[in-house]
Amino acid sequence: MNSVNYLLGVAEAPASLTHVLHTLRAAPAWQPFDTRAVEFVKRFSQKLLTAAGIREHPELAALGHWFRGANLHQLAQKYPTDTGDALVMGRGLAFHVAPSNVDSVFMYSWLLSLLAGNVNVVRVSQKASAAQTFLISVLAQTLAEEVGVPVQGRIVLLTYPHNDAITGALSDACQLRVVWGGDATVRTLRAIPLRPTAIEICFPDRFSACAIEAMALLALDEPALAQLASRFYNDAFWFAQQACSSPRLVAWVGSPERIDAARARFWLALEHELARRQPEDAEAMSMARVAASFEYAGAALARPDGDVGLSPSQPLRLTLERPLNETAKALHCGNGLFLELHLPELVKLAAQLSDKEQTLSVFGFTRAQLRDLALALPARAVDRIAPIGEALSFAPVWDGQDLITVFSRKLLLPAF
């Protein structure tokens, strides 16, 4: 157990994990949006936004912006801590498992857990990244300020090599386990027993899509089209199209003629946007999307348009030859590859989706059309429908779960 390396929140280095967990478990749970937690997160957000070097981490700037004071106060209004028949409280010790590469979505979840009233121990990747080091230093500075004093002892960041005994000890001590990672990580963690009274929330691999109504796109003037392309760029090219909510499939809805015209306009506008914004396109990224294209072709799942062969630059587009299935989703590696699909009406998309789907970003549909699609979906399919441009925006309801609510508990207390 001495292979645990504490990155934040535990002062003396050779502290035994048992002792650390004992102390963390002894800390009381707070009620959601306790002033002490809110003030700390607010200050952390300010410091993050004004830290030197924040421009190199736009995703962390977005994080800081989201946790700004005004947003926290607005959010707090939605979660009363005394409902008249119950008190709401944090669950206690929360154990968070982060994915290998620091992902800002994961940061949102443990900060929300702090706001929900929990004490948090966060296992981060062994592989330090620039973003991770940056975050830890800003967190440490905030903890050292006066506003950090009440929160000391409620946040521990640590790392350790793959070790079932350590994960087991943490899982046995916590009241809430939050796992971010691939399906394999989720399966591995699930096999490690959790304290009987604890609950678990997992965020496994997901697949996300986008749907565009052809006629609505054709109705856009040039500036509006350029704006749509720019919003789509933000959804698809941040995180190299590898976030759970990055669109990997574009479903076109309308008559064949309109779809043809709309596609031509849209992809041209996106090309202009790519030329303007110059996203990262490392050799390895190019080769990864090329290899995926060969896999799609070999399995007769998808093909490029026309008969000129493969054009490897991003966006690399392939049209699905058969309904979207698990293989087609599993082969997708991100990196600027788009599967396309043509449908006469939006509701027909429902049958091709499964519990793998997370976000559907949309353009040009009425709420009634989206509602019809939602009601036709298979069980557990699609957690979120968002306008194009907001696929990566964080919401406190994530993967279908209201995080503040699941991170806290209700203690029934009727009016006497």
Binding site: V97, P99, S100, N101, D103, V105, F106, S125, Q126, K127, H162, T167, W180, G181, G182, D183, A184, T185, T188, L189, F203, D205, R206, F239, A240, Q242, A243, C244, S246, D281, A282, E283, A284, M285, S286, M287, A288, V290, A291, S293, F294, E295, A297, G298, A299, A300, R303, P304, D307, V308, G309, L310, P312, S313, L331, C333, G334, N335
Partner: protein, 372 residues
């Protein structure tokens, strides 16, 4: 180019190897170019008829199909597809060996299916290449590995396949490493006393030679001299040596210094194209034999590159019949240095390999490394 047998319908008419097989470096571009292109086109046709996934790829991604006008137009696919697709051009019952390789992209394993004829073609081609370096006689042969690598004969990994393939060119084989890949110096000394005046052939994988022979001898304080004229052939990639900052030049110098080995030849080859290897010459360039060639492609546009421009290496070979592997895009980076003009005098293209393409970084929440 098609071999036909009107007497028996059971014997398929496979595309023959081009030109005179006994002269791997004897044909200049004007003769080799058209002959190899014809064979590659015939192989494309052959595999389209026999492998559905291959036919799917060609039909969707290569408009020229089996009518390529240049070698650059011959369809190809990335080697990593052997890990995910079943790429076989013969019925399962005709498979006599399955070669496997783990490569670097995750845990999946490549599967290369060999039938009798393909296996024989590999041997014929490798023999011709070896004969041009070793002559016809068989040399006493030291294998720098442990005999344990060969244990599972049904499912060969790349190392076992390489060792067995090259073993044919030697006699009185001796495996000089124990199962922990450490040098058994005493046993080697005893074997060497039999050949004080006869040059011996050493064969091994680059990193095994470095760790198991060179570093192990250094650690044990063993002083060994190989007979004058002894020759080492090694291959399998430089990744682990580059990690230790050992260059080809240093590798050669250290082996010379420690063991007196003067002739050290690297080769570039892969389990996906056994047989038609690219041997290094005295000037440090890798050479295409007449039955194979390379092409460098730009990793972003996939357009073929000219002399002096580093790119992703595509390998083409006239050998594979039982799997559609006659034209493959590797994950290696190399530079073409010329055609028919190496100072060593061998005809054909010559090139160097500089390393591997970096793998993609996993980001966002799509991480699949288990608690790494």
């Amino acid at each position: 180019m098609m071999q036909t047998d009107p007497l028996s319908e059971a014997v398929p008419a496979w595309p023959d190897l081009p030109l005179d097989i006994a002269q791997p470096y004897g044909f200049r571009a004007d003769a080799k170019g058209p002959a190899l292109l014809d064979t590659l086109n015939a192989l494309t046709r052959w595999h389209i008829q026999r492998s559905a996934p291959y036919a799917n790829m060609v039909e969707r991604l290569f408009p020229a199909g089996a009518q390529a006008a240049t070698r650059a137009e011959v369809p190809y696919f990335p080697v990593r597809l052997f890990k995910t697709l079943e790429l076989r051009s013969v019925p399962e019952t005709e498979v006599i060996k399955t070669l496997t390789s783990s490569g670097t992209t995750g845990q999946a394993v490549s599967r290369i299916y060999l039938d009798r004829e393909t296996s024989m073609r590999q041997t014929r081609v490798l023999s011709a290449i070896m004969a041009s370096f070793l002559g016809k006689k068989r040399w006493p042969m030291l294998i720098v590995d442990s005999a344990d690598v060969l244990k599972d004969r049904r499912r060969f990994n790349a190392r076992a396949a390489g060792i067995l393939g090259f073993s044919t060119y030697g006699r009185d084989h001796w495996y000089c490493l124990n199962d922990a890949l450490e040098l058994d110096a005493q046993a080697l000394q005893a074997w060497l006393t039999r050949y004080s005046d006869t040059p011996v052939l050493l064969f091994g994988f680059t990193f095994v030679v470095w760790q198991g022979l060179y570093q192990s001898a250094l650690r044990q304080g063993v002083q060994l001299r190989f007979p004058p004229g002894s020759l080492l052939i090694h291959g399998g990639g430089w990744k682990r040596l580059l990690d230790q900052r050992v260059s080809n030049e240093e590798f050669k110098a250290r082996l010379h210094q420690q063991f007196g080995i003067e002739r050290v030849y690297n080769y570039y080859g892969m389990v996906e194209q056994v047989g038609s290897i690219f041997m290094e010459c005295e000037h440090g360039h890798l050479h295409s034999p007449s039955y194979a060639d390379v092409l460098m492609r730009d990793p972003h546009t996939l357009q073929p590159l000219g002399v002096g421009q580093p790119g992703v290496i595509q390998v083409q070979s006239a050998i594979p019949l039982s799997y559609p592997g006659h034209s493959l895009l590797t994950e290696d980076v190399g530079t073409l240095h010329g055609q028919d003009d190496c100072p060593c005098g061998r005809a054909g293209s010559h090139f160097t390999v500089s390393g591997r393409l970096p793998q993609v970084e996993l980001r966002g929440c799509s991480d699949t490394r288990v608690m790494a």
